[in-house]
């Protein structure tokens, strides 16, 4: 039993952190807007690093690592509020591999194309040839397929040629559409459990990074900004919420690692660990986003500072693969296997 990344794993984390500091510094978000060309280049750069196929077997064109390494990468991306398009891309590439859709798989792994994620707005139902119901569709840019979870099935829907009209949207860096899924033809359908579990892990890893990134940002500011003749980090009204935020981050990170290992190894309590990890990470992300905005003062609510993007991104990810309430309702009855 060991929860510390191995040297090889630490190297993956360090390389990801290096890439992110250089390519995705928080400063890129200052008063910026979504730029489709930049987003495409970022997707391709991440694909070249092998991130989209990091957990996919080598014979499927992937890197042959595991969901644990996926979680490391998503946590690093979350720290800088990086692109979420990688989440449906990772999952869709695995589904494409499973369904023998090699062209789609290769397009996703190379970053040439993207995948979108449908999150139900009304109850979805699957028929023999498609899905009925309205959904928000996240990350529609260059989407070749739409991933949808309908009941106990995961479906890949054909997005090529489909009308995916972008909406005005709170999170300015994620292109989102809304439509009835009827009319999108089915590319693949498989039992949902593996995709949902994998999706829960990725959407627990990302907000864990958000929580850590928000604390790092306010921690830095508290060491620089002065009021009443002192650095604000010397005031308990400021340093105590930051200390609590750091504790929330450690709590979320530890649980994320346990959940990742539970999924990798197919442990009996995987559902409990994953649901718990997402609930705890989401809470850490939203509360730490709050202290980051609040303790920056007035500048915190402006576009001169990316603090608000931590809040918006945490809100956006909340319903993916199961929102807080359904997760809580499910985990209440999960048996405790540890004691």
């Amino acid at each position: 039993m060991d929860l510390i990344p191995t040297d090889d794993q630490q190297q993956i984390i360090d390389l990801a952190a290096d890439f992110i500091i250089n390519e995705l510094p928080l400063s890129r978000l200052f008063d910026a807007h979504y730029d489709a060309d930049k987003a495409r280049l970022q997707r391709q750069a991440m694909a070249q690093l092998g991130w989209i196929g990091i957990g996919l077997a080598e014979e499927g064109g992937g890197v042959g690592m595991t969901v644990v390494e996926e979680a490391f990468i998503l946590r690093e991306i979350g720290r800088v509020i990086g692109p979420t398009a990688i989440i449906p891309a990772i999952l869709a590439a695995k589904l494409a591999q499973e369904a023998g859709l090699n062209d789609l798989r290769d397009a996703l792994l190379s970053g040439e194309g993207g995948a979108a994620l449908a999150v139900a707005e009304t109850p979805l139902s699957a028929t023999a040839d498609g899905v009925n119901g309205t959904a928000r569709i996240y990350n529609v840019q260059d989407a070749q397929a739409v991933l949808a979870i309908v009941g106990d099935e995961a479906l890949l829907l054909d997005a090529s040629g489909a009308s995916l009209q972008e909406l005005p949207w709170l999170d300015a860096f994620t292109p989102v559409a809304r439509r009835d899924l009827a009319g999108l033809s089915v590319l693949a359908r498989v039992p949902a459990a593996a995709t949902v579990h994998n999706g829960l892990l990725l959407t627990a890893a990302y907000p864990t990074g958000l929580a850590e990134g928000a604390v790092a940002m306010v921690q830095e500011y508290a060491g620089i900004r002065e009021t009443f003749g002192r650095k604000i980090g010397a005031y308990q009204a400021v340093r105590h919420p930051i200390a609590e935020g750091a504790a929330r981050s450690e709590h979320a990170k530890s649980l994320l690692y346990v959940a990742a290992l539970a999924l990798r190894d197919g442990r009996d309590d995987v559902a409990l660990q994953l649901s718990s990890a997402k609930v705890v990470a989401h809470r850490a992300a939203t509360r730490n986003a709050d202290i980051n905005i609040q303790l920056h003062g007035g500048i915190g609510i402006t576009n001169d500072l990316p603090a608000h993007h931590f809040m918006k991104r945490a809100l956006m990810l909340a319903p993916w693969f199961g929102g807080r309430k359904p997760l809580l309702d499910a985990l209440l009855d999960e048996p405790l296997l540890t004691i």
Binding site: M1, L3, I4, Q236, H240, E244
Partner: protein, 391 residues
């Protein structure tokens, strides 16, 4: 990185489980102070006779010298068996004993350590004073050297177990006019020495074993000083890392079980509207949220023991555990009070009349004792985050 146990770990777990199943007392720990202490001594003796005393004390001092993972397994099995906790042996096993191991002379070690493991001697802590709680370095109880003795005068407070303890780890000011962390001495005080008066402090729980301790010309041999005269602060802090890594491990592990018992309570409690408490979505989701928190605390415990086994000391999570455990516990107790309704008030001043009600009140002890929540945040801000100093 893995969650697997080695075959030896699993064998250890089987042995611990079997021994605990055969040896955990069936009767509850008595509420009365003297009877409670006798119960704790008997349990510690049973652990010793079974070869389970001092799980993470080094082997050369009679402990088991368990690594982090085995310590975790031990506490998981204790929780599963609902085994007694350290109780009155908390100070001896987690603070005074480790301090003597780290800083004591061979004579000290020979005189005190084995008796702790055998359940013969209870220790209490003489650190806090009426004017020095969170700000421990403000302590004023003084000791003057008189020949081969230190003569102690003053008052300590919050002395849990003082009425039943054989010994006390006592921190006093031995340099007249010294301030703060300087001029302090850590000394072993025999509680039967003339001049010591123990006065119980009545608490909101009704039953309690918290005391004020008064010292009137108490003569303690100088050979009882651990470390140097005047070097007491560093002695008192020398086991800090040990404590951070281990003291709250059982609480972390226990939280999942405690949440599960609260969920069971909600399933069987019929509320004033005739429904089961668990049918109230607000109650159910709060409990589920706390169950998720408890899984996180267990994960932090695994992170903690991983850091100890790999790097020899806890990582940043070690400083954050007490803050989180005591807060999750308080939130859980609030939900239990909420779902229980009026029967929660049925309480006769002893924990056995209503364990949940006692635990509800005890939740403030956990957020205050052993470094209050506010002090834990200062420690994180200073030592983990390196924020500008507030003091």
């Amino acid at each position: 990185m893995d969650l697997d146990y080695t075959p030896e770990d699993l064998e250890f777990r089987r042995a611990a489980r079997a021994w605990l199943a055969a040896n955990v007392p069936t009767e509850p720990r008595p509420a009365e102070v003297q009877a409670g202490a006798a119960f704790d001594k008997a349990w510690q003796r049973r652990l010793y006779d079974g070869g389970w005393a001092g799980v993470n004390w080094p082997k050369e001092y009679g402990g088991l010298g368990l690594n982090g993972v085995r310590t975790l397994i031990w506490w998981e099995e204790c929780e599963r068996a609902r085994a007694p906790g350290y109780e009155r042996f908390t100070i001896a096993l987690t603070h005074a004993g480790p301090t003597i191991i780290t800083r004591g002379t061979e004579e000290h070690k020979a005189a005190y350590l084995e008796k702790i493991l055998k359940g013969e001697t209870i220790w209490c802590q003489g650190f806090s004073e009426p004017g020095a709680g969170s700000d421990l370095a403000a302590l004023k109880t003084r000791g003057e050297i008189d020949g081969d003795y230190l003569v102690v005068n003053g008052q300590k407070t919050w002395t849990s177990g003082a009425a039943t303890a054989e010994f006390q780890e006592l921190l006093i000011r031995t340099e007249p006019g010294s301030e703060r962390h300087k001029g302090l001495t850590w000394i072993i005080c025999d509680m039967s020495t003339p001049g010591i008066t123990v006065q119980p402090i009545s608490t909101m729980m009704g039953e309690s074993d918290i005391n004020a301790t008064f010292y009137d010309n108490v003569r303690i041999p100088l050979k009882n000083v651990v470390g140097e005269v005047g070097g007491g602060w560093s002695v008192a802090m020398s086991t800090l890392a040990f404590e951070r890594g281990n003291t709250f491990l059982r609480d972390q592990i226990s939280m999942a079980g405690k949440v599960e018992r609260a969920i069971e309570l909600a399933r069987k409690t019929v509320t004033a509207d005739g429904n089961r408490a668990i049918e109230d979505k607000e109650i159910a989701r709060k409990l589920a949220d706390l169950k998720a928190d408890a899984m996180g605390l267990r994960a932090m415990a695994i992170m903690n023991v991983s850091n100890i086994d790999r790097k020899g000391q806890p990582g940043p999570e070690g400083s954050m555990v007490k803050l989180l455990v005591s807060q999750v516990n308080k939130q859980l107790m609030e939900v239990v009070a909420d779902l229980s309704g009026q029967p929660f008030l049925d309480y006769d001043g002893t924990r056995h009349s209503n364990e949940w009600t006692f635990d509800y009140m005890w939740s403030w002890v956990l957020t205050i004792a052993g470094g209050a929540t506010e002090i834990q945040k200062e420690i994180i801000a200073d030592r983990v985050l390196n924020l500008p100093r507030s003091r």
